[in-house]
């Protein structure tokens, strides 16, 4: 018996096992993410030699001496402009993608994205109110706070309405409640926007998403919420697989489906709200990246969640890079770039993949 099972494992014939992330995918995910970070840091309107930049970055590590010879100006560009922007792009992209995957699992709906329960509309309303009614305006410290509060309030409202819709049909009623709340908040936001038409351009700029003004402040503001949200989502990876057979089956094997959904949705919404607060509304990442991962690597959330994190971050760094270099010195809004390059890429994967969604 022991010999047989050992032989099975050596020959790779051991086909009974929990779904797991293969080492190759872990290495691949980490490699593309690191490569994207490197590209994002090295490429820009001001030429900084990659060798020098690497030496300077290595100098940030403990016990490594900084041997670079960068000028103070180049050093500031590297450390205060490019690095925080790339890091923030990775954080936002990873967060949106893993939150989208979590929503898709929690609602068993392939069309779910991180904005499903109204997080986008709530954040949009909060940001619009700050832009329209305060002197602080675009880029102020108040904006992310208002966007964050708006996003969380919208999700809480959608959950309260959806739960009141009755037990048994919780999934559908939650999705419908999210759509209703989104319409309602968007209506108010449009009204505010029309009343204060002088700020419409700024609101529009925010809605298309931005990483332009990113600095270490934004990174530090968003990090704790994203870290907590992502950690909680990752801890529920096995339970999201259980949910995929339906609430009733999940309950019959002793898994409290409703509670798992609540925890996962709250965690994903918290992380999404933080992403929206620092970057505006960046579409497409949360919907498409998890599906690309499904098509390439498998259907278990033990695979989808960590890879969405890595590929979402990679994807957004590359989109941001294109957005700021294609028509340099001007910049394309990142939301435009994600859709323009993401849609054809997704179509390609969809056509060539042999897996089912």
């Amino acid at each position: 018996m022991a010999v047989a099972s050992l032989r099975e494992r050596l020959l790779g014939a051991d086909r009974v096992r929990p779904a797991r992330l293969r080492l190759g995918w872990v290495a691949g995910g980490a490699a593309v993410l690191l490569a994207a970070v490197a590209l994002g840091v090295f490429i820009g309107p001001v030429g900084i030699s990659p060798a020098q930049a690497l030496r300077r970055l290595a100098g940030l590590l403990p016990f490594v001496d900084d041997t670079s010879t960068l000028s103070a100006q180049h050093e500031a560009i590297l450390l205060q402009l490019r690095l925080p922007r790339v890091i923030l792009a990775a954080m936002v992209g990873g967060t949106l993608a893993i939150s989208g995957a979590a929503y898709q699992g929690a609602f068993r709906n392939p069309l779910a994205d991180p904005y499903l329960l109204g997080a986008a509309a709530g954040a949009g309303l909060g940001a619009t109110i700050v832009i329209a009614y305060t002197n602080a305006g675009f880029g102020s410290d108040l904006m992310p706070v208002a966007a964050f509060a708006g996003a969380l309030a919208a999700v809480a409202l959608a959950y309260a309405v959806g739960r009141a819709g009755g037990t048994g049909r919780t999934v559908t009623s939650l999705v419908l409640a999210g759509i209703a709340i989104t319409s309602f908040l968007t209506a108010i936001q449009t009204y505010v926007q029309q009343r204060r038409s002088q700020t419409i351009r700024e609101v529009y700029g925010w809605i298309l998403g931005r990483l332009t003004t990113a600095g270490w402040d934004d990174v530090l503001l968003a990090l704790p919420y994203m870290a907590v949200g992502i950690a909680v989502i990752l801890m529920h990876r096995r339970l999201l697989d259980v949910l995929s057979v339906g609430d009733e089956e999940a309950s019959s094997v002793g898994v409290p489906a409703t509670r798992v959904r609540l925890i996962v949705v709250v965690a994903a919404s918290l992380a999404t709200a933080a992403a929206v607060a620092v970057s505006g509304l960046i579409g497409f990442v949360g919907l498409i990246v998890p599906h690309v991962v499904r098509l390439l690597a498998g259907s278990s959330y033990r695979v989808i969640l960590p890879l969405s994190l890595a590929f979402g971050g990679t994807f957004l760094i590359l989109c941001d890079l294109l957005g700021r270099t294609l028509i340099s010195p001007a910049e394309l809004p990142i939301g435009v770039v994600t859709a323009f390059f993401g849609a054809p890429f997704f179509a390609l994967v969809l056509r060539t993949s042999r897996r089912t969604l």
């Binding site: 009974v16 529920h236 339970l239 259980v242 995929s244 057979v245 089956e249 094997v253 002793g254 898994v255």
Partner: protein, 264 residues
Amino acid sequence: MSTIEARDVSVTLGGRRILSDASLSVAAGEWVGIIGPNGAGKTTLLRAIAGLVPHAGIVELDGRNAGTLRPRDRARCVAIVAQRPLLPDAMTVSEYVLLGRSPYVSYLGSESRRDVEAVRAALARLGIADFADRPLGTLSGGEQQRAVLARALAQAAPTLLLDEGTSALDVGAQQQVLEIVSDLRAEVELTVLSAMHDLTLAGQFTDRVALLSAGRVAAAGAPPDVITEDLVRAHYGADVRVSHGPDGLVVSPVRTRRRAGIGA
């Protein structure tokens, strides 16, 4: 071994009373069939016993009040095979059968070697070890049914609730499932309660049957005492002939109206 004791179980869903004070008991190791016309509440009674639907009245599993059990403890007592389980196309058979081990895995934990061994045994027992890494969507209906049974078997619960309440499966597949359950009962000690559509199969496989009609238990007892021409006419509104042959009880529909010259 396990017993099921349901006392005055009532279920109201969406303002409609589905079950009214239904009482039923299943002894350890017994196979009891629930029969009754569509909409009589067969599936709902199974769901109430599995704790999947809010109900009034008391359900006892092995002498313990099921309402006070934690969901995972209840899942260690009863496994349920639903009529049409949701099977994600891309999930592999072994991943699916592993879900049956959920009651033994802690909330945020992952499956142990023991869980994997239990799955291996369940797959081998149902003859689908070769399909372990195949996606569910590529299996035939009968193979999928075996995967679902393997999941229930991996759950290692002493009581199995089997929902065959409507004719989702063709007669061959139905027979196959029942034969598998019958064989399992000979190997592991298993108490079975099954909702059944086909009266002939109910008569041939079960030790006792309970006839459910309009949410109440109208009759219960040995199959020949319950599956009678009179009771079937009264509760199904059907004209049948019940014959008792060497293979057990056979229920055949009869066209009485044609004989009377009305239908023709």
